[in-house]
Symmetry: D2
Subunit: 137 residues, 4 copies
Amino acid sequence: MGASKAEITAFLAREFQRTQAKCEIGEVSDRSATIIYHTDHNDLRPGGTVSGPTLMLVADVALYVAILGTAGLIPLAVTTSMTLNFLRKPAGDREVIGDCRLMKVGKTLVVGEVWLYSKGIDDPVAHAVGTYAIPAQ
Amino acid sequence: MGASKAEITAFLAREFQRTQAKCEIGEVSDRSATIIYHTDHNDLRPGGTVSGPTLMLVADVALYVAILGTAGLIPLAVTTSMTLNFLRKPAGDREVIGDCRLMKVGKTLVVGEVWLYSKGIDDPVAHAVGTYAIPAQ
Amino acid sequence: MGASKAEITAFLAREFQRTQAKCEIGEVSDRSATIIYHTDHNDLRPGGTVSGPTLMLVADVALYVAILGTAGLIPLAVTTSMTLNFLRKPAGDREVIGDCRLMKVGKTLVVGEVWLYSKGIDDPVAHAVGTYAIPAQ
Amino acid sequence: MGASKAEITAFLAREFQRTQAKCEIGEVSDRSATIIYHTDHNDLRPGGTVSGPTLMLVADVALYVAILGTAGLIPLAVTTSMTLNFLRKPAGDREVIGDCRLMKVGKTLVVGEVWLYSKGIDDPVAHAVGTYAIPAQ
């Protein structure tokens, strides 16, 4: 059974204090989640764009939140792979939105995709596909 | 013509002040580079391991430094894709080593792989393959 | 300007006789294409499932057709990368459907995703993200 | 315990008759394998080059053979993901060589990389990273 937005927010606050401060859960439901990431100067690259590793962080959190929303509060799920394609320069002065949809929820592997956006701009800035391993229960 | 280690260090210090503080260039030569990344508490995840986005950052910098060492100081090269496979938990109390070797240096695309290690431990913690687009000169 | 379905079908028949025999274009429009692939015994694996390389072939053709439908008949576009995630066993006795949507159409690089299905079954069997390089004109 | 070259050859001949006819095992040992693929006109693309899906097939077989050589004859291992980067045009009149090295052999997941070559030419034509899921025993 999946966890609620309030349960996941409390769980992340406990487990990932630092990331949590910048990552807000927009929505979470069975097999999907939306993350709003509040960029600051630590996320920027020359030219006022958002760094690739920051985009990966948002994709990773969006996937993790979608998994928690689907399968419940699993602390030991770990990322096993991620493929990112960078499509357009993100705007450094806007929040990053990560929209995740799970493709497969297996017993040991979960696969999902994440579209990344600069808030308020239609064209995506990046796309990610990631895999999490779920520990045997 | 490729840039030297001193030239690249000065270039990164100018362009990427913040990252540079934690990323040291171990070696750089034609088509390869080694990066030593000094982890701190900002890079850690619960369980004392290094976060995935930090590993991606090291892979990205290693690729970029190998490109600068091969093709010279190109400020506008941008990452277009990256695939990471996470193999083992990195030790949070060790530096991360990124060993990059370029596979292909084309006119518009450069492809390389990066093996990531916890310093002093033989088995790699992750593997990355990334692509940079080189702007037309 | 993009090419029409009839133009692309004729072009593929000329250039890729063999593949074309098994690949039918369902739809093609600006930035998207659907391919119907007629599997035969050469595509099967033990257990009556469709082989991974056959799925890659369908993904590759779907991407190529979407590019031709968007940018016109470019014979020299070449695949530079592809990432596939295999989600469920495809049914060996059904056609494979490849649904492609382009994410980015740049001057030198095109990136798209392809969802692969066993015809008539809702859950996708695989997902692909691929990149084509477009030669300078 | 890993299987020998003769055991794996017999196993593949039984399970994958068709592929086996074109795939010869060069070497197999703990965590590595080399495959020699005999291309024919079915593998070619316009311009006399080898198709991407053929390269994926060679990568997939090389990974599978390395797994069998490491963990024994596991018929139910399945590919869960593969990322290919195409580096240079393969020569259509040469065999394709696939050199696989496993990066991680876990209880449920195996990850490996494969370098693909046109036989007798030093520069690789493609690079693949793939993951197999190993069924619980």
